[in-house]
Symmetry: C2
Subunit: 217 residues, 2 copies
C-alpha cells in the first residue's frame, strides 16, 4: 500500500517522465513537489525498496511498471474527480485542482471505477488532459501547439497545458474555453506573439500563452 506522500512522488516522476527524460533528476522532482533535494533522495530510496522506482545514485530515477501503474491510477483518479466537480458540482475549471489533489488519494478501486461509469467513461478532464483507463493507458493525444501551426489554419481548443488558476482565469477573462474554434491569423516575429480569431473577437496572445494552447483539427 502506498502512502499519500509516496503517491505524490510517484505522480511527480510520472509527469516529469512524460516530458522526454528517461531518468528524472532529484532536483527536478524537488522543484515540482516544492520540497528539497535531500528529502527526494530519501523518498526515492523508499520507492526503490518497494519496487516502484529504479534508482541509481547520482543517475536519476525512473518508474518500474508497478510504479507507473500506481502513478497512472492516481492521475486517473485526479482527472475523474475533476470531471465530476465540473459536471455535477458546479465547480469551474480553475477551482478544481486543490480539491482533486486531495480526492486523488482516496483508496477504493470500486469507487474509481463506479465514478468512471457514473460520469459516462470520459476520456479527458476539464483541461483537455487524457484520463488513463484501469490499466493506466490512454489514447495518444494528437492535438498540436498553436506555435506549430500555419497562418490561416484553424482548429478546436483541445488542451491547455498549464492548469494553474491564474492561467485559467486569464482564459476565462478572454472568453476562451475548451471546444472553441480558433483560427491563427498572424505570427509576430519580434516577440513570438500570435494574433488569433476567437469565437467572439480577434486577440493577440503572448508566446507564454500560446505555448499552453493546443488545438485539434
Amino acid at each position: 500500500m502506498t502512502t499519500l506522500s509516496e503517491e505524490n512522488y510517484l505522480k511527480a516522476i510520472y509527469h516529469l517522465g512524460k516530458q522526454g527524460a528517461v531518468a528524472v533528476s532529484t532536483n527536478a522532482i524537488a522543484e515540482k513537489i516544492e520540497s528539497k533535494a535531500s528529502s527526494v533522495t530519501d523518498m526515492v530510496k523508499k520507492l526503490a525498496d518497494k519496487n516502484l522506482a529504479h534508482y541509481i545514485k547520482y543517475q536519476g530515477v525512473s518508474l518500474t511498471n508497478d510504479g507507473r501503474l500506481a502513478a497512472a491510477l492516481v492521475v486517473r483518479k485526479h482527472r475523474l474527480w475533476e470531471v465530476f466537480l465540473v459536471e455535477n458540482l458546479n465547480f469551474s475549471w480553475d477551482e478544481v485542482h486543490d480539491v482533486a489533489e486531495q480526492l486523488e488519494h482516496i483508496k477504493s478501486l470500486k469507487l474509481v471505477n463506479e465514478l468512471d461509469a457514473f460520469l459516462g467513461f470520459p476520456t479527458h478532464d476539464p483541461h483537455g488532459d487524457p484520463i488513463p483507463d484501469k490499466d493506466g493507458n490512454y489514447a495518444p493525444t494528437k492535438s498540436i501547439n498553436i506555435l506549430e501551426l500555419e497562418v490561416g489554419s484553424e482548429g478546436v481548443l483541445a488542451l491547455v497545458k498549464d492548469s494553474s488558476d491564474v492561467f485559467l482565469k486569464y482564459l476565462n477573462k478572454n472568453n476562451l474555453a475548451l471546444g472553441d474554434v480558433i483560427k491563427v491569423l498572424e505570427f509576430e516575429p519580434f516577440d513570438d506573439s500570435v494574433t488569433i480569431q476567437t469565437k467572439t473577437k480577434e486577440i493577440i496572445i503572448s508566446k507564454e500563452v500560446a505555448k499552453n494552447l493546443y488545438l485539434s483539427q
Copy 2:
C-alpha cells in the same frame, strides 16, 4: 486547520458525548478509536490548546462550541458521501463505511455544500443517521427502539445503530432494509428475543439485534 488525526478524535468525542456523558473518559476514546489511553491524553491536550476541547486532568473531555462544530462538519461529510455512494455509485449500505471514513476528511466547504445540493439536501444517511446541516444542527430523531414498543405495535425501520458490515449483512440476509414496515409480535422473557413480522416473513431476532433497530411510527 485540523489534521486528519485531530478530526478522528473530535468525531469520537462527539459520538461518545451524544450518548449521555457530560465528560468523556480517556479510555472510552481510546477504545472507540482503537488506540491507547496515553495517546489520547496527548491529543486531547492538543485539542484543548486549539480551543476545540475542554480538558481537566483525570476528569475527562468535552467539546467546545468550535470543537463540536468541527466534529459535526466531519460527520456531515461522512454521511453525505455515504448517500452519494449508495444513490449514485451502486454501493450497498454495508460497503460505504471505509470509503466514507476517508472522504470525510476532504477539505472544501464548496465541495460539501455542492454535494449536499446535488443529492437534494438529504436528511438521513443510508443507515438512518441524521445529516447535520452547515451549522451542525439536525432535527431530533423521534424513532424508538424495538425493545421499548408494545406487542402489536408497528412502524417503519428508520435507523440501524450499528453500521458495521457484519450487522448490515445480517440484515440483508434477513431481507430487512430501511423503510420496511415491521410489526412486533412477541417478546420472549427468557432471553429478551423478539418475534417480528417483516415484509416477507416472521422472524425471531436476538436482544443484541433488537437493540440496534429503531422504528418511526
